[in-house]
Amino acid sequence: MTTVKKIPGELPVSFRYTPGVGNTAFFEALRDRGILLGSRCEACGVTYLPARVFCERCLAELEAAVECGPAGTLESWTVGRVGIDGEPLDEPAALGLVRFDGADTVLVHRLLGDADWSIGMRVEAVLRPDRSASILDLEGVRPA
């Protein structure tokens, strides 16, 4: 007798994420003006990038009005050599935490090229010429 050992199944849904009010301002500025737009809470002395509509420290309403970057500082980095399926990547993929000038928060993004990455290194944003309001409109950063 074959024993019933498992029942296959799935969660048959996909998700549509709208970027919200804060990120819409960020994405539109990135797409249309090629800039990195943040927002500042004067009371808390924190500039958030990407822009947010509320301060996480005091819940004050914020405006997306602070231009950050395009240069910044590499706060940490890693080189991925294995994909999410556990298989080796064709090309290693470098990722970094970048604190763009003017921002107090860091952004995770791609490190472009084959540089000798180091913490504290100065980097700069590389934008795509054709942009669609996506975080990938920012291709990544390269050494400044």
Binding site: V4, I7, P8, S14, F15, Y17
Partner: protein, 573 residues
């Protein structure tokens, strides 16, 4: 029990079908407006309690920490609780015990839901509440549960759809006075409800609350903080929560025991001995119109089966003897699941302070009860709240009830076109282990047998079989065979697939009680019968697939058909 706890502020977003705001942004709007309403700032808050229903609505599989910043939890003790649809009222219970225990003086409770993210329909996320092994293979639809329960309730008390539809009319009319409402409609009639599209008979479109996005927040404080911060506290007088059986088809579908138990717990704590005299305003959970009636009976506010005639007589109208859902409820204000529950707490707060504006119930309500319901439709959560008494505030304060500046509603086109929007599928496949008892049951199916286990202590014969008796909490004793014949407990004529694509012909889900099983029943479909010929208590028998097609699955029973050949129509399921 512990410290006295007061509610001193509440706020909410508008409830909308598709919000441009993220869940974080919705939470921040609600949290900020509750803090403003309480006259405090985030610095005054000692701890934050959050709730949000299934992660799969927002598509964020860590909603607790994801929503933390919008809920004002930065740098504070914080926890998300979750009991499905019961969550919104439960988060007020969480807030109560966080304060009553002495752990915090000022707590911000936030409830958020953003159901619009879930594509093609949030019912896809609800599929996970069905048993993966014996229910999911049948292709269930959330509406099945409600249709099956509603029909059983109507059958038990001889109710008509007209009796039920009156609740939808009352609540959508009440919601016309709520500035945050999604479906308020001052001129809706019973005929409108009865003429709306049949989804899963007896459930029609306007019997159901809408899919919604939104957030609500309340501020709960200790007695000492209340003295410092407000001259009109509303006290949490009692809380209760309770679970019924985890097998929903084994539940009493006519009467919500779980609500009665939760209500008795809350009433005992509040010193409420005669709820019909001592409760002046009620906000029971109303995701479907019949559920308001069901829950009013569970809350001991009406005798069993008597809520509908009281509703018809106007007792539950906003100006009736017991105003019920003066907010407009889930049916009118909207149903962003967890947020909708906390909206009921907010409504009691405003009603008991005399600040509900156009929705204010007459007189001076001294005490109210809010209730929600959820998990696999078997949890009851209840909160009793009371004001200080004293004169009602007849002059409505400007901006009350406070509704946050915006939840920006997008139509479907704008939602699809939103700049920066991302659509992703969680590409996961699951392999569920049936476990020992259910594995044996499924093997039995392959042999055309229905296997059950017996608990000798309580004497029950359990279908589906379990390795342990959940009542006696001991291993079951023996295996037995049950004949695959039984009676229809309740059924639906369902015209909708889970993604709300119409089915033609409709299908006939039913809860079937097998003759040899002790209680309740299990879920399957009916076949070889015209929908109009199906009746509750009809005797049915299993039709097995040919031996070579059986796979050790609940679907080895193709369907159940009438035992009386005269009732069969010769077609399949």
């Amino acid at each position: 029990v512990g410290e006295r706890v007061a509610v001193i502020g509440a706020g909410m977003t508008r409830f909308v079908r598709r919000a441009q705001e993220t869940g974080k942004e919705l939470s921040a709007i609600a949290a900020r407006s509750a803090l403003e309403n309480a006259g405090i700032t985030l610095d005054d808050v000692d701890a934050v309690c959050l709730t949000s229903a299934p992660d799969a609505f927002d598509g964020v599989h860590r909603k607790g920490d994801y929503l933390a910043d919008g809920a004002g939890a930065f740098g504070k003790p914080y926890m998300r609780t979750y009991v499905g649809g019961g969550s919104g009222v439960f988060t007020a219970i969480q807030g109560w015990y966080t304060v009553a225990s002495g752990m915090a003086d000022v707590v911000l409770c936030v409830a958020e839901e953003k159901m619009s993210s879930c594509q093609p329909h949030p019912q896809g996320a609800f599929l996970t509440i069905f048993d993966n092994v014996i229910e999911r293979p049948l292709g269930p639809n959330l509406l099945w549960i409600f249709a099956l329960e509603m029909r059983r309730y109507m059958h038990a008390y001889g109710l008509s759809k007209r009796d039920i539809a009156a609740v939808a009319v009352k609540n959508k009319r009440n919601a016309a006075d709520h500035p945050a409402a999604l479906l308020g409609q001052a001129d809706i009639t019973i005929e409108d409800v009865l003429a709306s599209e049949v989804l899963a008979d007896p459930v029609q479109r306007l019997d159901v609350s809408p899919i919604s996005d939104g957030a609500v927040a309340v501020v709960m404080v200790s007695e000492e903080a209340a003295k410092r911060l407000t001259d009109r506290p509303v006290w949490v007088q009692g809380v209760g929560w309770n679970l019924d059986t985890a097998y929903w088809t084994n539940r009493d579908l006519v009467y919500p025991e779980y609500v009665e138990r939760a209500a008795r717990m809350a009433y005992d704590m509040a010193g409420v001995t005669e709820p019909r005299k001592q409760i002046h305003v009620a906000e029971p959970y109303d995701p479907f119109d019949y559920k308001e009636l069901h829950h009013l009976e569970g809350l001991q506010l009406f005798d069993k089966g008597k809520a509908p005639e009281a509703a018809a007589a106007g007792v539950t109208a906003r100006d009736g003897d017991l105003p019920v859902c003066p907010s407009g409820g889930l049916l009118g204000v909207g149903n962003p699941i967890a947020a909708a529950g906390l909206m009921k707490i907010a409504e009691l707060f405003w009603q008991l302070r005399g600040e509900a504006g156009a929705r204010q119930v007459p007189g001076t309500p001294e005490r109210g009860v809010a209730q929600a319901w959820g998990d696999l439709m078997q949890v009851g959560t209840v909160v009793v709240m009371g004001g200080e008494g004293g004169p009602a505030v007849t002059a409505t304060r400007e901006g009350t009830p406070p509704v946050g500046p915006v939840a920006t509603s997008l139509d479907d086109t704008a939602f699809r076109a939103a700049a920066g929007a991302v659509e992703e599928r969680l590409d996961l496949q699951y392999a569920w282990d049936p476990g020992e008892a259910m594995g044996a049951f499924l093997e039995g199916m392959r042999d055309g047998r229905v296997l059950a286990t017996v608990c000798e202590q309580c004497g029950r014969t359990l279908v589906p079989p379990r390795k342990f008796c959940e009542r006696c909490f001991r291993p079951t004793d023996t295996w037995t065979d049950v004949e695959a014949v039984g009676t229809v407990q309740t059924f639906s004529i369902c015209h909708m697939r889970w993604d709300m694509v119409r089915l033609d012909p409709p299908e006939l889900p039913a809860v079937i009680r097998l003759d040899g099983a002790s209680e309740g029943g299990f879920l399957h479909k009916l076949g070889e019968v015209d929908p109009a010929a199906v009746t509750i208590d009809m005797a049915v028998e299993a039709v097995w697939k040919p031996l070579e097609d059986r796979a050790g699955s609940i679907l080895d029973i193709a369907y159940f058909r009438p035992r009386d050949p005269a009732l069969r129509n010769g077609a399949g399921a």
